[in-house]
C-alpha cells in the first residue's frame, strides 16, 4: 500500500531558527515528489524533485530528495512568522499524487 509519512507532525520555533521537515514515502512507480505550503487556504507549490542529491533552493527554503532511501527533506533557514503553515509533501506516480498529513510549523516572534 502506498504510504507517505511526514515528521514531525508539528513544530514550534522562534524567529531566526532553522528547521528541517522530513518526508518518507513508499509508492509504486515513483516519478517525482512535490512540496507544498498550506496556510488557511489552498496549498501553494514550493518545489518539485525528480533526481536524488540535487538540492533545490528558493530563498530561505531548500529541499533534497534521496530516491534510494525514499525520503525528502525541506529546510527553512532564518524562519519568519510568515513561514507558519502546514507543509505537505506529495510523491507522484504519474497519474496522481499522494499527500502526507503534513507538518504544522508555528514560528513565534
Amino acid at each position: 500500500e502506498d504510504k507517505v509519512v511526514q515528521s514531525p507532525l508539528s513544530l514550534v520555533v522562534h524567529e531566526g531558527d532553522t528547521v528541517t521537515l522530513n518526508c518518507s514515502y513508499e509508492v509504486t512507480n515513483f516519478r517525482s515528489l512535490l512540496w507544498y505550503k498550506q496556510e488557511k487556504k489552498a496549498p501553494t507549490f514550493l518545489f518539485m524533485l525528480t533526481s536524488s542529491g540535487i538540492e533545490k533552493k528558493s530563498g530561505r527554503l531548500s529541499s533534497i530528495l534521496d530516491k534510494k532511501e525514499l525520503f525528502s527533506i525541506l529546510n527553512i533557514t532564518a524562519t519568519q512568522t510568515g513561514d507558519s503553515a502546514i507543509y505537505l509533501c506529495a510523491p507522484n506516480t504519474g497519474n496522481q499524487f499522494y499527500f502526507g498529513t503534513g507538518t504544522s510549523l508555528t514560528v513565534i516572534p
Binding site: 512535490l34 507544498y36 518539485m48 497519474n95 499527500f99 498529513t101
Partner: protein, 114 residues
C-alpha cells in the same frame, strides 16, 4: 487567467441531501483532481480525470460521483450527504500527470453535513 475556480466556497447540507461542487479551469489542463481534507489530515484523492470523458477512482471515492464532459469542467456530485463527508474539498488541475510545476489548486469548498 482565473486558474481553478471552485463554487460554492461554503455550504451546509442536511443528511441525505444532494449537491454538486463545481470546478472549472481555464488553463487547458488535461488532468483534474478532487481532494478532500479533513481537520488535521492530509489531502485524500477522491476522483481524478486524465482528459475529457475519462475519470477514475482515487483513494476515497465512496459516496461521490464525477463527470468530465469538457476539458474545462470537473464537477463532483454528492448524492446522499452523510456527516462523514464534512470536509474541505479542493479541486486541482495539471497539464500532465507529471505536473512539472505542481498542481494548481482551487480555493476550496468547506462543506458541513448536519
Amino acid at each position: 487567467n482565473a486558474g481553478v475556480t471552485q463554487t460554492p466556497k461554503f455550504r451546509i447540507l442536511k443528511i441525505g441531501q444532494s449537491m454538486t461542487l463545481q470546478c472549472a479551469q481555464d488553463m487547458n489542463h488535461n488532468y483534474m483532481y478532487w481532494y478532500r481534507q479533513d481537520p488535521g489530515m492530509g489531502l485524500k484523492l477522491i476522483y481524478y480525470s486524465v482528459g475529457a470523458g475519462i475519470t477514475d477512482k482515487g483513494e476515497v471515492p465512496n459516496g461521490y460521483n464525477v463527470s468530465r464532459s469538457t476539458t474545462e469542467d470537473f464537477p463532483l456530485r454528492l448524492e446522499l450527504a452523510a456527516p462523514s463527508q464534512t470536509s474541505v474539498y479542493f479541486c486541482a488541475s495539471s497539464y500532465s500527470g507529471h505536473a512539472d510545476y505542481g498542481y494548481t489548486f482551487g480555493s476550496g469548498t468547506r462543506l458541513t453535513v448536519v
